[in-house]
Amino acid sequence: MRSRWGWLRPGHLGSEVDRATFRTMHTASLAGPPLRSGLTEASATKAIRHLRDLLGAPAVALTDTAHLLAWEGRHQHHTDQAARLATPVVADGATSVGDKSQVPCDDPRCPVRHVIVSPLTVEDRVVGTFQVYSPTLSAGLVRATNEVARWVSAQLELAELDASRTRLMEAEVRALRAQISPHFIYNSLTAIASFVRTDPERARELLLDFADFTRYSFRRHGEFTTLAEELRSIERYLVLEKARFGDRLQVTLRVAPEVLPAVVPFLCLQPLVENAVRHGLEDKDGPGRITIVGEDHDTECVVSIEDDGVGEDPERVRRALAGDDSMDSVGLGNVDERLRSTFGDDYGLVVETAPGAGTKVIVRIPKFTPGVRP
């Protein structure tokens, strides 16, 4: 019995000091997530309650460089002083301590007699202040305030990191858009030219396909599209490649109509199909077959892109997925990264391959993710 119910015994979770530490860390962990979205009125409002819990002060405030973002605690009559107190700290970046003359009020019972204002810095730039209003002043409280402000700063730096990662990925998508290979354009136009005399009707259709394909790939707006749009563009691409390769390239598409409305990151399948065509036909005699299958799995769609080409060493694929730029599968790492950042880490690419055994890339797409819309 003792071992089963041991967790009920006092002291199981450590000494009083240990538990105080745990409590502090837990409170800090609650304040962390909102701050990870940057310093805004919404995030400050969510985080500030926990920050006050950390210090146990009557009132605390978060400001940006000029305005109050959030106030926690009573004594609301001091709120309009927060912005004024922030200004000098933002200017010289050092913590300032003020007495009643800095926080004057008419209420004789008001316990707010001192204020500590600590700067919040992201990459050596002051982005706001953290203010603690308290009845007493001690070196310990000043130090604690500074530490909390530094911790908040660290969270904000992480937010900045997230934001720059997003910007980087946007830039990569723009690069992908512009990355329709010059070879592809040249080869397509040559193939079309060869039909102009022999089969003008087909040449005309191919030119229209080419126009539509480039228009989709160069489109400027929207990070997301529907699976239907993405697949339509892939079909045009394959028609153009087929015009060039003729019977050497065989294509099978099996797509359940139920998956077509799913929302996916723009150009998330296109690079995979290009890879498949390249791997399926390069270094290989005879025809190559590309199979694209879309299946409906209730809350998810599963799309697989398979070629029967020379295959690949799994270790090299792993490096490509990890973002190693020396690999020739440029798109793979980027697509994987964007799928993960859109749908969560459960939704990365799955690649099944071995030398001589072809390659199969599987993409899972949830039918609904909040905030992801075409």
Binding site: E223, A228, L238, T252, P257, P261, P370, R373
Partner: protein, 506 residues
């Protein structure tokens, strides 16, 4: 009738369903070399699929039983079950599709940006799903008892087993083509026998007066608002509110709207559904009315729900009657299986996504969820044996109308709905309707107004839910989501219109 025909019909339908489940993926894709990807599901096909999944045991057996027992005022059930799609068409269909939501919890999360509302909606989806699955299993038990003389629980267990095996094998997903076929099978199974039955009825001199053994007298039976119920006017309005507003809150119906490519086709699909359901619902009341003439004793013996199955044997008899009975049995089992599969998948999807996924992962989690999704209503079906099939489905509609109807209607048409308001409304609507449902399932004997209010709760729970949602939202206006205007623009602007729909998060 000879049991062997009925058993053969049940076995055939079950095996066919399992086979489609095992090889179903062949139906689910179009194989071709090029240009298949842009072929979306046409509204007519999708409408057949929605109707096929929607027409359940309650429609197939329950309505005829109710009409037989209580008479003309029960026609409000089929009218309401059809008109529910009118409300869906006018108020919800297109904006819901444009929201991109796959399930009702998805919509709640997308519109209100709150995980809490999502979780609460998930609980309600599961509750409604179970309440709707229960009568399917009851109906199956009833059908099998009638055609083969088995115990009550056997039919339900067979349907539950077939559905479970299919879900486990990964088959019988909501394949549009298969579900669309189900509609036409069900329609045929009711239409063909009714032609023969009407021929017999005409041959007998087309009698119009009922003999009335064990039921209300013919005058009362044929005219509305005069039945033996205590508060016919209240009951009728409550049924109307529950059925008109409940359809939009059914988990397996909403899921199908995702297949439509855009809001416009979502509306067209709903319009076709209205037509298809209208045609289907002509027939069950005919069975009920013929039952008054040829099988009035079923009312007394509390087997009114079996009237559709009994009529061919009684009116025609012989081999012909047996074959027609077998056809109806097959149709009925197709109805149980189609609706149960759709509901099981919807419930299991929600369970695995929002409840079980922490313990199991991936396919395992879905399979574990499917077992729970089937086991609970099967148990309920055995416990609450005496509640009529159509009435039990009516309760599911009442809960859906008291919870998701306000959420959808206010969420789409009222800017000021907040997450706290929605949560309070769902809690009040779901709580009140839940109490009424429990009271009915436990079969407390009550009388007077209390009995009427608890048996048909929608007329007071739906306004209560709306009022709570509006009131609490007005008190919590500070909590409006930041991206509200964007969301509203998305919901209400046709996809073809070029406009800035706001920044896109990556």
């Amino acid at each position: 009738m000879t049991p062997s025909f009925g058993i053969a019909a049940v076995a055939l339908v079950s095996l066919a369903t399992l086979a489609i489940g095992a090889y179903g993926w062949r139906f689910s894709r179009t194989t071709s070399d090029f240009f298949v990807a842009s072929r979306t599901v046409r509204p007519a096909l999708n409408a057949s699929a929605i109707s096929g999944e929607y027409l359940s045991a309650a429609s197939f057996l329950g309505i005829a039983g109710l009409v037989l027992t209580f008479g003309a005022e029960m026609l409000w059930y089929p009218v309401g079950w059809t008109a529910g799609y009118l409300m869906l068409l006018v108020l919800v269909a297109a904006p819901l599709r444009r929201s991109g939501a796959y399930t009702l919890p998805d919509f709640a999360e997308g519109r209100l940006e709150s995980r809490t509302v999502r979780r609460f909606s998930s609980v309600l989806v599961v509750a409604i799903g179970w309440l709707y699955l229960m009568p399917q299993f009851q109906g199956a038990g009833l059908a099998l008892t009638t055609v083969a003389g088995t115990d009550h629980w056997v039919g339900g267990a067979i349907v539950a087993g077939v559905v479970l095996v299919n879900v486990m094998l990964g088959g019988m997903r909501s394949i549009t083509l298969v579900q669309a076929f189900q509609y036409w099978l069900k329609l045929t199974a009711l239409l063909v026998p009714v032609i023969f039955l009407l021929a017999v009825w005409t041959g007998d001199g087309a009698a119009t007066t009922a003999t009335g053994a064990g039921g209300p007298t013919s005058d009362v039976w044929a005219s509305p608002l005069s039945s033996t119920n205590d508060h016919p006017v209240y009951t009728t309005y409550s049924i109307i509110i529950a059925t008109f507003l409940g359809t939009m809150g059914l988990p397996h119906v909403v899921v199908r709207f995702y297949t439509n490519p855009d809001g416009r086709t979502a509306r067209r699909t709903t319009l076709v559904v209205l037509g298809l359901l209208g045609v289907f619902y002509v027939f069950p009341p005919v069975y009920g009315a013929l039952g008054r003439l040829y099988a009035p004793d079923l009312i007394g013996s509390n087997r009114a729900d079996t009237v559709v199955l009994e009529l061919p044997a009684r009116m025609i008899g012989g081999l012909g009657g047996d074959l027609l009975s077998a056809l109806i049995t097959a149709g009925a089992f197709a109805a149980f299986l189609a609706t149960s599969s759709g509901l099981t998948i919807a419930v299991a999807g929600v369970l695995s996504q929002d409840v079980i996924s922490r313990r199991f992962r991936g396919v395992r989690s879905f399979q574990a969820a499917a077992v729970v999704a089937v086991a609970v209503p099967l148990l309920l079906a055995v416990v609450a044996d005496g509640v009529g099939v159509a009435r039990a489905v009516g309760l599911a509609f009442a809960v859906a109308a008291s919870t998701f109807c306000p959420l959808l209607v206010l969420g789409i048409w009222w800017r000021r709905l907040t997450d706290v308001g929605a949560l309070a409304g769902l809690a009040v609507g779901g709580g009140l309707a839940g109490v009424a449902v429990l009271d009915t399932l436990l079969q407390q004997s009550r009388s007077g107004w209390v009995a009427a209010l608890l048996a048909h709760p929608a007329a007071w729970t739906v306004p209560a839910a709306f009022a709570t949602m509006i009131g609490v939202s007005l008190l919590t206006q500070r909590r409006l989501p930041v991206t509200l205007s964007q969301t509203m623009v998305r919901l209400h602007t046709p996809e073809a219109v070029e406009l800035d729909r706001g920044p896109y998060p990556l």
